[in-house]
């Protein structure tokens, strides 16, 4: 669209484009069953809006207008290319019935199409490496360059993945629809996993461009909100709560030099209390359903930290209890490790050390830097400094990200100081 920011109609179209174009895209993609065609039709539809709305005013339901116009533009596009196959013939045949239904189509129904599109992009028949960029591109409308930048890959690689995903949806005819009842739980898990992955990409100890990465977390939260709004499933609520509670600590978790600040050392006045409040309410809401799972339990753990005024006020007993519940429904060595850390906080480092030695002794988590870092921390607190130093060194060998490495080096230096 041409920049003409003074014109109020133009401004409004730009706002609709910015905020709502992916909703229109989702509906077009569902109707046309072709992402590329839907993208072109979307652009043409907005171009037509610029001309028509200026002379005729903005329609009562702009989204329905854009969808309807986009569909006709798609038919024109196909006709111009001489590619009017059976699918589009059917489309023309049904144009009147679709049109009458569509003009009445409420905004919520168009919003539902976005949900359908999320399920499509996170379909298990699509390579997990492709699901994340495809969702960010098609559902969130990020550009390929933005996605590549956030994941530190070349735009070419990212573009190839997205093209592969779109071809799979088109050629294997992955439905753009809410999954059937029997597939639903599994498919929802896949969607939640993709959203959480996007969030963590944006949240993990920052490598790459930190601004873009914060955007990724914001996109994940936006998707989480959309999901909760359209599909108030306990785990969708739990995931949104978990993301909000993590996000609330974003600025407090590193210092001005970009170094890690541990939870217990964070300046809690810097936490975003608006996000915390929202997160706490969501945790409550999900727990009340009695139908919650791992995301809600993790959010519940996070909510205990979030509602403790000082680190010393933390109710470790409750945290241990929640880790027990988590371990019961989804046993994993990482959960066990976190539980051991909570026990150390409740009963003292000796109790935690016994548990960690047990986990690592089994061969689990031997290559997980946090297991060695946690062990080192217990030893440090027990003043067994040379052993602590060795454990920090094991952790250092396994750590990958710059802030983690700097943190461990600092600790090793402290141990040297303490032992010398």
């Amino acid at each position: 669209m041409q920049p003409n920011s003074a014109d109020p109609v133009h401004q409004q179209i730009e706002a609709i484009y910015r905020d709502e174009s992916r909703r229109v895209f989702a509906t077009l993609a569902k109707l046309l069953r072709d992402f590329d065609l839907a993208e072109e039709a979307l652009q043409e539809s907005f171009a037509a809006a610029v001309v028509q709305w200026k002379s005729e005013g903005i329609p009562a339901n702009p989204l329905a207008w854009l969808v309807s116009t986009g569909r006709f533009k798609a038919i024109d596009l196909l006709r111009r290319r001489g590619r009017l196959d059976q699918l589009s013939e059917n489309l023309i045949q049904h144009r009147e019935s679709i049109d009458s239904r569509n003009s009445a189509k409420a905004a919520e129904e168009i919003e539902d199409d976005r949900l359908r599109l999320i399920f499509t992009c996170c379909h298990p028949a699509i390579d997990p490496k492709v699901q994340v960029p495809l969702t960010l591109r098609e559902v969130c409308g990020l550009t390929t360059e933005e996605i590549a930048n956030a994941f530190l890959t070349s735009p070419t690689t990212m573009a190839q993945r997205i093209v592969r995903g779109k071809a799979k949806i088109r050629d294997a005819r992955i439905p753009i629809d809410i999954p059937s009842v029997e597939d639903f739980p599994e498919r929802l898990q896949a969607v939640l996993a993709v959203i959480y992955l996007v969030f963590n990409e944006g949240y993990s100890a920052s490598f790459g461009n930190s601004v873009t990465r914060a955007d990724l977390s914001a996109e994940a939260i936006r998707l989480g909100r959309l999901l909760v709004q359209l599909l108030p499933d306990a785990e969708a609520i739990g995931l949104l709560a978990l993301m909000l509670l993590h996000e609330s600590r974003r600025v407090a978790r590193s210092d001005s030099a970009g170094d890690i600040v541990l939870l217990e050392d964070q300046d809690r006045s810097r936490w975003d209390h608006r996000l915390i409040e929202e997160g706490l309410a969501l945790v409550e809401q999900s727990l009340l359903t009695r139908n919650f799972g791992t995301y809600t339990l993790q959010a519940a753990i996070s909510s205990i930290h979030a509602s403790s005024q000082r680190a010393a006020d933390t109710n470790w007993q409750e945290i241990v209890r929640l880790y027990d519940a988590l371990q019961a429904i989804h046993p994993s060595p990482v959960v066990e490790l976190n539980r051991a850390v909570a026990i150390a906080m409740r009963d003292g480092p000796e109790a935690g050390l016994v548990l960690i030695d047990e986990i690592v002794g089994r061969g689990d988590l031997q290559n997980y830097y946090l297991a060695h870092a946690a062990k080192a921390d217990m030893l440090r607190r027990m003043s067994r400094l040379s052993e602590a130093k060795r454990a920090y060194q094991s952790a250092l060998e396994l750590a990958q990200q710059e802030p983690e490495i700097r943190f461990l080096q600092k600790r090793i230096a402290e141990m040297n100081h303490g032992t010398s």
Binding site: A125, D127, A167, D171, A172, R173, I174, D177, S180, E186
Partner: protein, 254 residues
């Protein structure tokens, strides 16, 4: 939308009882799909030991005994179904008994013009003719490099071969498949279903299409298979198809 379901499992993992049960369950599913108008064809294949593979290089046919690739799980049968979308195909694949031992690979079929009508469920012109399946393995990279025009002309050549086969009353069915990147593999283990992107095995040459024809002998089938355009770039594996009309439990228990 048509899909081909390719059934892979380790041939030696079936006891006669399991095989019998598998055939019974599969027949039931076939009947149900047929009633819904979703079944185009389904059949087991003769064991992989009976397979022969042909490649044409420098205008010479190179015939080797055995399948195109040695894998632990072998192609044991196929379904051609007509359903709305991939999720329906996955649901059907999940119910097929071999999915618990091996894998069901789902491949969307490519529609092309110019093929004669299919002749599934018809009698052969000669009573002694048998059904053979040509599994056409292509080097997708080589085709991508050769370009769209080369691929299109290879398909036209294949359509002509089909017409010649049809003129002799030997044609049953043929179709190219969408590229292997559109494949989806389904497995069920311990009651848990896994769905993954891609074909069941990562091989350099991948299944790109098939023919099912009548022929009087494996030799005649091989000779026709060597005329397939793709045999010059890839490989064509020829497998005898179990004649579904004679498929009854006593003859298939092995």
């Amino acid at each position: 939308m048509r899909y081909m379901l390719l059934i892979y499992s380790p041939e030696d993992s079936w006891t006669p009882e399991q095989w019998k049960e598998c055939v019974e369950t599969s027949s039931g599913i076939c009947q149900e799909l047929a009633e819904k108008g979703q079944l185009i064809a389904a059949s087991p294949l003769h064991p992989v030991a009976t397979a022969t593979t042909v490649r044409v290089r420098d205008q010479k046919a190179i015939v080797t005994a055995g399948p195109f690739a040695e894998t632990i799980e072998q192609l044991g049968g196929f379904y051609v179904i007509d359903v709305q979308h991939l999720d329906e195909a996955i649901q059907i694949a999940t119910r097929l008994p071999p999915v618990k031992k091996g894998v069901v690979e789902i491949r969307p079929m490519m529609k092309i013009n110019g093929l004669p009508p299919e002749q599934f469920n018809t009698e052969p012109a000669q009573a002694f003719w048998r059904q053979y399946m040509f599994l056409c393995y292509d080097d997708e990279e080589a085709w991508a490099k050769a370009g769209k025009a080369a691929h299109e002309s290879a398909i036209q050549e294949a359509v002509k071969l089909v017409s010649r086969i049809d003129a002799q009353g030997m044609f049953i069915s043929a179709s190219p498949l969408h590229p292997s990147t559109t494949a989806t593999s389904v497995r069920v283990r311990d009651g848990h279903r896994s769905i993954t992107d891609g074909p069941f095995a990562e091989t350099h040459e991948v299944l790109g299409g098939y023919y099912i024809i009548w022929a009087e002998s494996q030799e005649q089938a091989m000779s026709l298979a060597s005329e397939h355009s793709g045999a010059r770039v890839g490989s064509v594996e020829v497998r005898q198809v179990f004649d579904v009309r004679t498929l009854n439990l006593s003859t298939t228990a092995q």
